[in-house]
């Protein structure tokens, strides 16, 4: 239906008659059983009418008192007892509302938005303005320990589904006016509130520009979760490697902000998107900074080792056992050959079968109810592992390799990097089963080229490694003592204009 | 390897090359098409040599033509030592 904007605005303006307003609201919310209309009357002889409209599922129980509070205001401030709509109007225009948070609404779409955001909207007779009081209350999860990122030492505060609470928790950690928060709304149906935060003078201006320009045009997009935004703004959708990080920890988010990252929060989801994320940052957790230097450095190295194992161990095993058995020490080689005797399948097929079973177990384990979960894992390990060995489908060595690979992939702190490895493992296994060490090297080189050519929000993904910046390596594979990099602003090298992107 | 196998290999190579250049073809203009065609000529010639396992004129033969004599001389020096 094509109408000019002016006409739309005209038809949107509220009328002075209560009945028209009420009818309009009833039409708009036809079929919405949870929208309630409470008429009331005021004045000396209760001759003046008013109606409150609200969504009962969205608001606190104290609704009936709003009308009461409003009129109380008038009684308190007005000496003359002559209460008329005109009086009411004059009062609110002059003084504004008092007790609760309220807004003056002049258009129907504003009123609809407010009602759907948990406001109580009150219309008075003979007045074309409505007053909306905020009364939002919906049951939400309590603040608890984030499930995916537990810590032994350090805060256990995780984000919840309330956007305001999350922003508040982060603001509490960074008490500076340089912490900027910018809001936007996306989706014509979902009307999701999105917020992004950054610390001025810590974030790289070019990155912020890139981020903003990519976020443009997200308005029609129905955003239901932070990962929708990742999909919208990332550089390479088809790459298995994640270019942004997720976190549920407020301390991690605060630390990232100090490091010059931009974080994105979406209402109704606890996941915070941290952009940009570099490859080397996926090996760090916030707990690294709370434990001692040497231990933290060793754990970092362990994680790098876990990454290599998770990605390459099955491929290396296949390549060595099939093509280059001379590289394996003789004693071990004899043991392997001993166990591999009688196995009908080549090493690749064996590895593939075991890996797929492991992936199946992992996928099924996500949905198992907790009482059954532990029983199934024991059964899975014993039955599948032991039975497979005895049925000569797999050799014990292969079971060990697959189990080690699985364990190693859990050692990587960020889930979306772990899934990248799960995806990449299979092509590498395939290519190393075809051509042994040569194939493995080619696969490795192709992966490395892909990683090096990947960009995240304009920055090279492998920054600190490629291009090699030795000064940043103090926080990559080791964790240098905090006194080396805690002064503000951190990561000053990010703003050094001489250091160009190469 | 029989010529059939070699033909297979050659067409596999040509197919791979065409697939990787897939995106360039729609936007190509006349000059670029001409240059591309010119570059494809040695490719086809070498492919022909490869398929039928001929030892026709190749880059190494060109080099031997120019540097053949000095190379023989140096080779003989090498043999002496």
């Amino acid at each position: 239906m094509k109408t000019t904007t002016g006409e739309i605005r005209e038809s949107n303006r509220m009328s002075k008659h209560l009945e028209d307003n009420r009818k309009k609201m009833e039409e708009t919310f036809a079929g919405c059983g949870d929208i309630e209309f409470h008429p009331s009357s005021f004045g000396d002889n209760f001759e003046y009418k008013a109606v409150s409209v609200f969504c009962s599922t969205l608001i606190k129980d104290k609704t009936p008192t709003f009308m009461h509070d409003t009129l109380n205001d008038l009684f308190r401030k007005n000496v003359e007892e002559d209460l008329s709509p005109e009086r009411v109007r004059q009062f609110f225009i002059k003084h504004g509302a008092s007790t609760s948070i309220s807004t003056m609404l002049t258009r129907y779409d504003q009123a609809v938005d407010c009602i759907l955001n948990g406001y109580v909207v009150i219309w008075f007779d003979h007045w074309d303005t409505a007053i909306g009081y905020e009364a939002f209350q919906v049951a939400k999860r309590e603040v608890g320990e984030p499930i995916g990122e537990p810590s032994v030492q350090g805060p256990r505060e995780g984000t919840t589904e309330r956007l305001a609470d999350n922003i508040g928790m982060i603001r509490e950690r960074l008490k500076t006016p340089r912490l900027k928060v910018e809001y936007l709304v996306a989706g014509s149906v979902s009307k999701t509130k999105i917020a992004y935060m950054y610390v001025d003078q810590a974030v790289k201006p070019a990155t912020l520009e890139q981020f903003r320009s990519r976020l443009n045009g997200i308005d029609p997009y129905e955003v239901l979760e932070t990962s929708y935004i990742e999909d919208w703004i990332e550089d390479s959708t088809y790459s298995p490697f994640p270019q942004y990080m997720y976190t549920e920890r407020t301390d991690f988010a605060a630390a990232s902000l100090l490091d010059g990252k931009i974080i994105v929060l979406v209402s109704n989801t606890p996941m915070i998107l941290v952009c940009p994320a570099l490859f080397v940052e996926f090996f760090a957790t916030s707990e690294d900074y709370y434990t001692r230097t040497i231990f933290a450095s060793l754990i970092r190295l362990l994680r790098v080792w876990a990454f290599i194992v998770a990605l390459l161990l099955p491929s290396i095993y296949i390549a060595l056992s099939t093509f280059h058995p001379e590289l394996i020490p003789t004693v071990l080689l004899l043991a392997i050959l001993d166990t591999r005797e009688g196995i009908p399948f080549p090493a690749f097929f064996e590895a593939l079968v075991m890996e797929i079973f492991f992936e199946l177990l992992r996928e099924a384990g996500i949905r198992l109810p907790r009482p059954v979960g532990s029983a199934v894992s024991i059964v899975g390990a014993l039955v599948i592992g032991q039975a497979a060995i005895q049925a000569k489908i797999a050799s014990p060595m292969m079971v060990i390799v697959v189990a080690l690979t699985g364990i190693a992939s859990f050692a990587i702190p960020h889930y979306n990097m772990g899934i990248a490895l799960r995806v990449l493992r299979f092509p590498l296994m395939m290519v190393s089963s075809l051509l042994g060490g040569f194939g493995l090297m080619i696969g490795f080189l192709l992966t490395l080229v892909h990683l090096t050519s990947l960009n995240t929000l304009g920055e090279p993904y492998m920054s600190s490694l490629a291009p090699l910046k030795l000064r940043n390596m103090r926080d990559v594979f080791i964790r240098a003592p905090l006194s080396y990099f805690l002064k503000s602003p951190r990561n000053r090298h990010l703003h050094d204009p001489r250091r160009s992107n190469s | 390897m029989s010529p059939y196998e070699r033909a297979w290999i050659f067409f596999l190579l040509a197919g791979g090359m065409a697939a990787s250049d897939f995106r360039i073809y729609p936007k190509i203009n006349r000059k670029e098409l001409f240059i591309y065609g010119l570059a494809a000529l040695p490719f086809l010639y070498l492919g022909f040599l490869f398929m039928f396992d001929l030892s026709g004129l190749n880059l190494t033969d060109l080099l031997k033509l120019v540097f053949g004599k000095p190379a023989m001389w140096i080779g003989s020096l090498m043999k002496q030592s």
């Binding site: 280059h324 051509l435 060490g437 040569f438 080229v449 291009p467 | 591309y36 880059l59 030592s81």
Partner: protein, 385 residues
């Protein structure tokens, strides 16, 4: 200049190491000790000095022409037609070098490690990876090769250190029973491969970033010294293990690694040298393919610089499968004809250009206070550098 194509100075220096040491580290000193025997390392030391000379000329030209490439420099010096001829000669050189590198990988794998696999498999896969990398641009290449080079040098040093128990120092003494001639022939061979190939860097040097602090020359000399030291060291170590027999085994580092036996666990690790060979050759082939592509782009003034990448790769693949008629043909071509080609064509061109530029600058010194030829200066502004 911070556009898509410029790389930092240390990255340029790393590329120099990659292209000189990359594949040479596995082959040296076999071809040289074939003639020079125990004195191979002396030949290599002299070749390193020769390489420094070539590098000095290349850097001088880079400075004198304010960062122009080979084609532009030859246009300015010799005119358009001669420039095209020079470009064609360099193209022919590169078209020989790139397949030769990959044929080296092929022959290594088909004779030693994976005897049943036909060689076209290795050609295809290697060239696919190389072309894929070149297509991503010089910056990606430079970033990656720093990491790969670290790996390469680390593995080589580990091998050389693990072989310490095998060294017999008396083998390293240059005996020279046939006089100086073998050493000179060794110098000739290693002057061609790998040191003579530094002339190709006239094509690559324009891509180094202009507005960076630090000296390009110092870094380049340093990296060539790294190559020189590594090659001399590797040849010394091989000689100390095998003595006069070094000239027989084709892949010296490989054979050296196969002799290592440490505590019953670390033995027969020569397959790792296969990795070193792949990485080194891949790096060299990538850099050379990039240079070849650039030559065509500059010669034909192409707007899309990925247009000819696939045809060139295809031609190189087929060349690698058809060019050499056998092992002895390969040896003769790479160790005799190639040095001739590089020295008499490549090095001669670069030396001539250096000499002419030097003389010209001397004559026209009064034109400009900076010692720069104002004609060149204005051309820089016109072509945008």
């Amino acid at each position: 200049m911070n556009d898509k194509k410029s790389i930092l100075i240390y990255q340029m220096a790393v590329l120099l190491i990659c292209s000189t040491m990359g594949s040479a580290i596995v082959y040296i000193p076999n071809p040289i000790s074939y003639v020079a025997g125990n004195a191979a390392w002396i030949s290599l030391a002299f070749a390193y000095a020769f390489g420094m000379l070539v590098l000095a000329c290349v850097l001088f030209l880079h400075r004198a022409y304010d960062g122009r490439g080979l084609l532009e420099m030859s246009r300015l010096l010799f005119g358009k037609t001669a420039a095209v001829l020079i470009a064609v000669l360099f193209i022919l050189m590169l078209l020989f070098a790139i397949p030769a590198i990959v044929v080296g990988i092929n022959s290594f794998f088909t004779t030693i490690m994976m005897k049943e696999t036909p060689s076209f498999v290795f050609s295809f896969l290697t060239f696919f990876t190389v072309a894929f990398t070149v297509g991503k641009g010089l910056q990606v290449i430079a970033r990656m090769f720093v990491l790969l080079l670290v790996m390469l040098i680390a593995v080589t040093l580990v091998i050389l250190i693990l072989a310490i128990p095998l060294y017999k120092v008396k083998y390293a003494l240059p005996v020279m029973p046939n006089g100086v001639m073998p050493v000179l022939i060794g110098l000739f061979t290693s002057g061609g491969f790998p040191y003579g190939e530094i002339v190709f860097f006239t094509i690559l040097l324009p891509f180094s970033s202009r507005h960076e602090e630090g000296s390009l020359s110092k870094n380049m000399y340093l990296s060539l010294s790294v190559t020189g030291i590594m090659l001399v060291l590797s040849s010394l170590c091989t000689l100390m293990v095998f003595g006069p027999a070094t000239g027989i085994y084709k892949f010296s580092l490989y054979i050296l690694a196969s002799e290592i036996r440490v505590a019953d666990i670390i033995e027969r690790i020569e397959s790792i040298i296969g990795i070193v060979l792949i990485i080194g050759s891949y790096m060299k082939a990538t850099i050379y393919l990039f240079m070849l592509n650039q030559l065509f782009v500059q010669l034909l003034k192409l707007k899309n610089d990925r247009l000819l990448l696939t045809p060139l790769t295809g031609v190189c693949v087929l060349l690698s499968l058809t060019m050499f008629k056998g092992d002895s043909d390969f040896s003769q071509q790479v160790y005799v004809i190639w040095p001739l080609f590089v020295l008499t064509v490549g090095c001669l061109i670069v030396f001539t250009m250096t000499l002419l530029t030097f003389l010209r600058k001397g004559i026209k010194n009064d034109e400009d206070d900076n010692g720069r030829d104002p004609r060149i200066e204005s051309d820089v502004q016109a072509s945008g550098g």
